[in-house]
């Protein structure tokens, strides 16, 4: 099991890019986009962890029948997990966006620092 | 050796009579001496007797209440009591009084009895000058108590006791055994405190005749004043005897006692005629300054 492959690296890179965006862009929408990118990065890492070189997708078809599945497929569990993670990520992003919209409507600005009334 | 109770009471009365007469004469003579210093003729030496008789004979018409009456009672009882707790003449059955009640501390604290009672009585008189006088007197007292206490502690360390009789015994056998010579610093501290205790100049602001006519006794007249005057004699006598016992070798007979106490008291007059008066706060600072340092030195010398 080699720990490093290209997908992992891209995933980490996306994660960092996403966090950088979320931490450096004052615009609320851009922050949300940053989180979406970071989510994607995390998902890629998850998928990459389940990847085994030379194996096929975990689908029972001509490439892998039920008997040989364990030997010929990549690990299916991370892929299942990633589905859940994607759904949850989507939900969070949607909620964030809807809050961003409502915050804007209620008279706030587009920048995160215009919501600093509560402090100390 | 131990006299019976009635006899002892009789002795106590005798002792008291002696000290009263002597105290009054002492006051009279000192007043006369002061007058001479100031270039006046002065009063006769027996004037205090006349004053007391006159005061006691007057009809008193004024009372401010029970505590007002009790004030002089407290005062005189305080003076007499103080004397009763001091053995006046070493080895004399007549003059040993009731000194078996307690040691030096009892005497030192009983001194307050009369002062406190008097202050309370004067207070009920409702005269502001009385209260001002008491305020000043008490304030000054706390200050001169410090060198006095240090001096007492020093001699307690020196003689290893607070028993007055034992302190006197330790000083027998020649005047070089007196505390005056064996522990001069303590004596100096105590004598400075004595000036404050006696209320002569420079510590006379308590009864400051000019601003607050006569301080605490302002409202007292007739027989109540007479009691206060009597007390002055007894109380002075008691304090003088105490000083004599502690610092000047005590006395083995009455004439020695008379001479010694006269001389001790004379220090007061001597200083009093030479110096002007301190304000109360100045007096407090004075006592807590050099005299206290002397007292500390006296303790250090014997303690370490």
């Amino acid at each position: 099991m080699s720990d490093v492959n290209i997908v992992t690296l891209i995933g980490v890179a996306l994660l960092l890019v996403g966090f950088y965006g979320a931490l450096s862009r004052p615009n609320v929408i851009k922050m949300i986009v940053g989180f979406a990118i970071a989510d994607t990065g995390v998902n890629m890492i998850i998928v990459a962890v389940g990847y085994l070189p030379g194996r096929t997708a975990p689908i029972l078809d001509s490439a892998a029948d039920a008997a040989g599945a364990a030997a010929r497929m990549v690990d299916p569990i991370p892929q299942a997990l990633v589905l859940t993670a994607i759904v949850i990520g989507l939900a969070v992003t949607a909620l964030m966006l809807s809050f961003a919209v409502r915050m804007r409507r209620s008279g706030g600005g587009m920048a995160i620092d215009s919501y600093g009334e509560q402090k100390w | 050796m131990e006299p019976s109770i009635p006899l002892r009471i009789a002795y106590a009365f005798a002792s008291l009579a002696v000290i009263t007469v002597y105290g009054l004469l002492l006051i009279g003579s000192m007043a006369r001496i002061s007058a001479k210093v100031q270039g006046r003729v002065g009063q006769p030496v027996w004037q205090p007797f006349i004053d007391i008789v006159k005061s006691s004979g007057k009809r008193n018409s004024i009372s401010h209440g029970v505590m007002f009456w009790l004030g002089p009672v407290f005062r005189l009882a305080g003076g007499v009591g103080t004397y009763m707790f001091v053995p006046a003449v070493l080895g004399s059955v007549v003059f040993q009084n009731f000194s078996m009640s307690g040691d030096l501390l009892l005497v030192m604290y009983f001194i307050f009895f009369g002062q406190l009672g008097m202050a309370l009585g004067a207070s009920e008189g409702g005269h502001p000058y009385s209260a001002i006088g008491v305020s000043r007197g008490l304030a000054q007292m706390t200050a001169f108590e410090v060198p006095f206490a240090l001096s007492i502690i020093s001699i307690a360390v020196q003689y290893g006791t607070l028993d007055i009789t034992k302190i006197v015994m330790a000083q027998q056998g020649g005047f070089l055994n007196w505390t005056l010579f064996t522990n001069p610093l303590a004596v100096v501290a105590a004598m400075i405190a004595f000036l404050g205790m006696s209320g002569h100049n420079p510590f006379s602001v308590v009864i400051a005749p000019q601003e607050i006519p006569i301080g605490p006794p302002t409202e007292y007249q007739s027989n109540l004043l007479g009691m206060l005057q009597t007390n002055r004699a007894v109380f002075n006598g008691a304090k003088l005897v105490l000083y004599m016992n502690l610092f000047f070798g005590g006395a083995t007979n009455v004439p020695v006692m008379v001479v010694k106490t006269f001389l001790i008291y004379f220090v007061n007059i001597f200083v009093g005629q030479a110096f002007p008066r301190f304000r109360t706060d100045q007096a407090i600072r004075f006592f807590l300054g050099v005299p206290t340092l002397i007292g500390i030195a006296a303790v250090v010398l014997f303690a370490f």
């Binding site: 979320a22 931490l23 450096s24 989510d39 995390v42 998850i46 962890v49 949850i88 969070v92 964030m96 809050f99 409502r102 915050m103 209620s106 620092d113 919501y115 509560q118 100390w120 | 009809r59 018409s61 004024i62 009372s63 401010h64 209440g65 029970v66 009790l70 009672v73 009882a77 009763m84 078996m100 501390l105 009892l106 604290y109 406190l116 309370l120 207070s123 009920e124 409702g126 005269h127 502001p128 209260a131 305020s135 008490l138 304030a139 007292m141 108590e145 410090v146 206490a149 240090l150 502690i153 307690a156 360390v157 006519p213 409202e219 109360t280 706060d281 100045q282 407090i284 007292g295 500390i296």
Partner: protein, 1038 residues
């Protein structure tokens, strides 16, 4: 047993049904909502009951396979307890939010249910990825609930929360997937002990999971988002976050503990305790209530996490987690829930302004909740803290203990400040000017009262399970509750009942007492009964006074007979708490009570640490100087020793007059008792040896001098008496520090006589100020004619206190000087002379200003003090006279007690004469001589009186002036002006200034730290990222 999967099914089904049901009307959907919550609570209670009855665990595998193929759930005692906690808080929170939930769109109720379900899932699941899912479900529901009532503030807070939550989620996912990679499973039980966890990669993966959970627990300083959320949230939701969500998150954290290495656990422990200390420090600056509760919540959760990690690191078995972390958690969740609900009921917008003040029951509930949260007895956190500190000291985690103490002190300060605002009805500093009306909150009070009842029941259970079954132990609490129930009765009747209750306690406690204990029982229980009787002097009900008074006195009583350190300490804290509330009940008791509280809590913590150190845990049961030093410091604070006295004048003076008297005359003596007992237990050695004792002696003497000096400058009679007490206890301390037969005889004699005469003086002043309506002395005057008995009582009191023969006080002086000089403490003796001289000044000033001099026009018709005050004074008077005439009455028992400890006798009786190496004193003869002389003189005076007449007030010799009014003639104001000029510089409150500076430092540090919380969501996110990074570095360093 119903499978817990039904919970999820029911919540999900109801969630989907709600919008449909809502079409039939809000009543229908609301009924469904409440039915589900109630059913859930019932199920949780049922689970809890069955697992308590039959311990065990129920493993639930979804889908019929075994792990790792399926998600596993577990239900055991711990899980069911956590579920019950979640359910209880959810019910209370929903009840508090009922109006908002019923008015908002139905999605509000739906989200609420989803949140509760998510939290239940967090508790139940054994699968790490499933844990993530429930984390997100509860998270999303929580964000949504925050913003569901469409307030901009709440939405922006929710947004900040989401940003932080997003970071945590990413970290969690990365951690989990690598754990899966390394161990090949997501099931927690299969993962535990897996070889894959070993090595750097395993540690890193575990760390990411841990970091995510930690961030969700809102650690300082990466918790700005959480604080904002607490502040913005509906108080009910705040309760849900602080109570239920924290419980579930802590449970999740606890669940992954088996994966953690010691280094990981250390990170949790320190992160938690640092959060506790610093969150509470920052909380000091808060006035906005819900934000303050937010800081407190973050701190408390950190504390529980720290306790959990501490237990996992150092203690075998799960009992510690149960008792300590569980105790702290249940304490926190109930208390905080109750507080949030109270804030909802009494504050409109959580900015600290109150709509009104609560009635007695709700106020009592508020007191219970705050006291519980702060860790005072008898509530669960108190017992938990005791155990935690014990083990922490045994493992030499001193910094940990220090942080526990500091955090608790800070938290106590701001929570009790809030409580004061609540019960006094606002921030107004002069409440007596405009009494705040009582606000009847009706149903809104149910939640807090239920929470308080729950917490009290659990606290009682904790005590019972620790083996406290002695009825005397329970007497203080039972007494307090009984009198709370009787609070509607008239005050005078309650005074009689309280006297009887205290007497009954004494009747049952006395037989088991040693002579030493009996001596103090006389002062404390005897004084308690006397002052209980005196408590009838006020008209009206005196609402709330007697429950607290009885509790305080009886806990003092139990402190005397307690057989274990814990029992003693619990009584001690209870007494401090009761005293605090009694001071607070004074009209101007606010700031005084707070300062008293701070010193009580600080001192008590030192004492606890000392008791634990000396409890045989370190270095066996050998005498421990460190233990004695810590316990001693705590006791000196209670004694009001110089330097630690700044609470004393205010607390003594601002309490109700009768309690002031008890406080000074009786309560202060318990510190003397404890100090003597501590010396017996821990040995006499202090760090620093004899020199340290000399310093203690000087602390006492300085207290005597400066206390007396401060007293002479007071215009307020009660402050003068308070400073006087400080001075008198200074003598006691100095005498105690001598540690020989003479010193201790002196100390006990002084303590006993101080009890007698100070009680008379306080009660006499109480009568005077009751009749004149003022405590300011120069406004009184001449009361001797109107109140002769009070005058005589005060007179005897001052003669006794001043030490003038022949009354008892002189015995104290005589003993003191003899023992000091015999010990070689000469300068201490000289300073005592000064102090006792200064005492004359204030004593005279007091009796002159109050009872003598010129009566004021408006006081010409005042009456003698009520019988309720006079009788106790007369009893004390009789005792003073008896002890004056026969000093052996009191000295024989004292010398017997002291002789048991210090056989070498410096003082001994020969007949009636007390003899020392330095001199002698015959009390009986003294008083006989004095009385005879006095009587003779008196007779002489009476014989010479010639028909005097009582003259009018102004008939005085007033040189050429006419006295104008009593006010201008009564010389009483600034009585010792020359003294002030000469020595006033000594008493300009340097101790107060020093302590104010310390407090100022704490608040400035808090002010500086809270600048971290900029309110910017992005900055908070950065905090979270940096925090995780720094924690990782700590892990690496270890």
């Amino acid at each position: 047993m119903v499978t817990p999967l039904a919970i999820f099914a029911a919540f999900l089904a109801t969630g989907f049904l709600l919008p449909l049901a809502d079409k039939l009307g809000r009543r229908v959907s609301a009924t469904l909502f409440w039915a589900l919550l109630a059913g859930f609570a019932g199920l949780a209670a049922y689970y809890l009951a069955s697992f308590v009855a039959a311990p065990g665990t129920l493993e639930i595998y979804t889908g019929g396979f075994e792990p790792p193929l399926v998600i596993a759930l577990r239900l055991g005692l711990e899980e069911s307890a956590a579920l019950a906690a979640v359910a209880a808080v959810a019910l209370l929170a929903a009840f508090s939010m009922r109006k908002a939930l019923h008015e908002a769109p139905v999605s509000g109720m739906m989200t609420f249910l989803m949140l509760v379900m998510g939290l239940s899932g967090l508790v139940l699941t054994r699968d790490l990825f499933n844990l993530f899912v429930f984390l997100e479900i509860s998270g999303i529901a929580g964000y949504a609930l925050l913003g569901f009532d469409d307030r901009r503030l709440a939405m922006s807070a929710a947004f900040k929360y989401m940003v932080a939550g997003g970071i945590a989620s990413a970290a969690y996912l990365v951690g989990v997937i690598y754990l899966y990679r390394l161990t090949g499973t997501l099931n927690l039980d299969l993962m535990i002990g897996s070889a894959g966890l070993e090595g750097a990669a395993g540690a890193a993966a575990v760390f990411f999971v841990l970091a995510a959970l930690l961030v969700e627990l809102k650690p300082f300083p990466a918790n700005g988002w959480a604080i904002d959320a607490y502040e913005a949230a509906n108080p009910g939701l705040g309760a849900l976050f602080s109570g239920a969500q924290a419980t579930a998150m802590l449970f999740a954290l606890y669940k992954v503990f088996p994966l953690l290495s010691d280094a990981h656990l250390a990170v949790v422990m320190w992160a938690g305790i640092v959060t506790f200390a610093f969150s509470n420090l920052v909380g000091l600056r808060q006035t906005a209530t819900r934000r303050m509760f937010g800081y407190s919540s973050a701190g408390q959760v950190g504390f529980v996490a720290a306790a959990l990690a501490f237990g996992a690191r150092y203690v075998e078995g799960s009992d510690f987690a149960w008792l300590v972390a569980g105790g702290l958690l249940v304490n926190h969740l109930l208390a905080k829930t109750g507080l949030f609900l109270l804030s909802a009921a009494f504050e409109s917008d959580g900015d600290g302004s109150m709509k009104g003040r609560p009635g007695t029951l709700v106020a009592a509930a508020a007191g219970v909740l705050v006291a519980a949260l702060v860790g005072l007895p008898p509530f669960p956190a108190f017992w938990a803290k005791w155990d935690l500190v014990r083990v922490a000291l045994a493992t030499r985690e001193y910094a940990f203990v220090a942080l526990v103490g500091a955090g608790g002190l800070f938290e106590a300060w701001y929570l009790f400040s809030w409580l004061v605002r609540l019960v006094k009805g606002g921030a107004d500093e002069t409440p007596e000017a405009a009494p705040v009306p009582v606000l009847r909150v009706g149903a809104d009070g149910v939640g807090p009262v239920l929470a308080a009842l729950g917490i009290a029941a659990l606290g009682g259970l904790s005590a019972w399970t620790r083996g406290f079954t002695d009825p005397l132990f329970w007497a203080p609490l039972a007494g307090g509750l009984l009198f709370l129930a009787l609070d509607r009765l008239p005050g005078k009747l309650k005074a009689l009942l309280a006297t009887a209750a205290i007497a009954a306690f004494g009747y049952f406690a006395l037989p088991s007492m040693s002579e030493f204990q009996k001596l103090f029982a006389l002062m404390i229980l005897g004084g308690g009964a006397l002052h209980a009787f005196a408590g009838g002097y006020l008209t009206g009900r005196r609402a709330g006074h007697f429950p607290l008074y009885v509790m305080t006195v009886l806990s003092l009583g139990y402190a005397l007979v307690a057989e274990s350190a814990l029992g003693f300490f619990m009584a001690w804290e209870l007494m401090a708490l009761g005293g605090y509330f009694l001071v607070l009940q004074g009209a101007k008791g606010r700031s005084a009570s707070m300062i008293y509280l701070a010193f009580s809590i600080g001192g008590a913590f030192l004492m606890m640490a000392g008791l634990q150190l000396g409890g045989g845990l370190i270095g066996g049961a050998a005498p421990s100087p460190a233990a004695l030093a810590l316990v001693g410091l705590g006791l000196l604070a209670k004694l009001g020793a110089f330097g630690l006295h700044v609470w004393l004048p205010g607390a003594y003076a601002e309490a109700a007059d009768d309690f002031s008297s008890f406080f000074s005359a009786s309560l202060s003596k318990v510190a003397v008792f404890a100090l003597m007992a501590a010396l017996a237990v821990f040995g006499e050695a202090l760090p620093g040896g004899e020199l340290a004792w000399r310093v203690v002696g000087w602390v006492g003497i300085l207290g005597a001098v400066l206390g007396a000096l401060a007293a002479i400058f007071q215009e307020d009679a009660k402050y003068a008496l308070a400073f006087s007490s400080m001075g008198q206890m200074g003598y006691v301390l100095a005498a105690l520090a001598m540690r020989d037969q003479m010193g201790w005889t002196t100390a006990l004699y002084l303590a006993a006589t101080h009890f007698l005469y100070k009680g008379m003086m306080w009660l006499s002043v109480a009568g005077a100020s009751l009749r004149t309506g003022t405590r300011t002395m120069y406004l009184m005057g001449g009361l001797i004619k109107r109140m002769p008995i009070s005058f005589v009582s005060f007179l005897v009191g001052i003669i006794a206190l001043s030490g003038v023969p022949p009354l008892t006080g002189f015995g104290g002086k005589w003993l003191l000087y003899h023992s000091l000089i015999a010990k070689g403490w000469y300068f201490e003796a000289a300073a005592s002379f000064l102090a006792s001289g200064i005492a004359f000044l204030y004593l005279y000033r007091m009796i002159h200003s109050i009872f003598l001099g010129q009566p004021k026009d408006e006081h010409r018709t005042v009456k003698e003090a009520p019988f309720w005050l006079v009788l106790p004074q007369l009893l004390l008077l009789v005792a003073v006279i008896a002890f004056s005439v026969f000093p052996r009455l009191i000295l024989d028992p004292i010398m017997a007690v002291v002789g048991a400890r210090y056989p070498a006798a410096g003082f001994a009786f020969e007949g009636q004469t007390l003899v020392s190496s330095l001199g002698y004193w015959n009390g009986l003869l003294t008083i006989v001589v004095v009385v005879v002389v006095f009587v003779l003189t008196f007779i002489w005076m009476v014989m010479n009186l010639r028909k005097p007449r009582l003259v009018k007030q102004f008939n005085i010799v007033f040189a050429a002036e006419r006295p104008f009014r009593p006010e201008t003639t009564h010389f009483a104001f600034d009585f010792f002006a020359p003294y002030r000029r000469a020595l006033g510089f000594l008493v300009r409150g340097r101790s107060e200034k020093a302590w104010t500076a310390v407090a100022g430092l704490a608040t400035s540090v808090a002010g500086a730290i809270r600048r971290l919380y900029t309110g910017n969501g992005q900055t908070y996110a950065l905090h979270v990222v940096l925090y995780v990074g720094i924690l990782y570095l700590f892990l690496g360093v270890r």
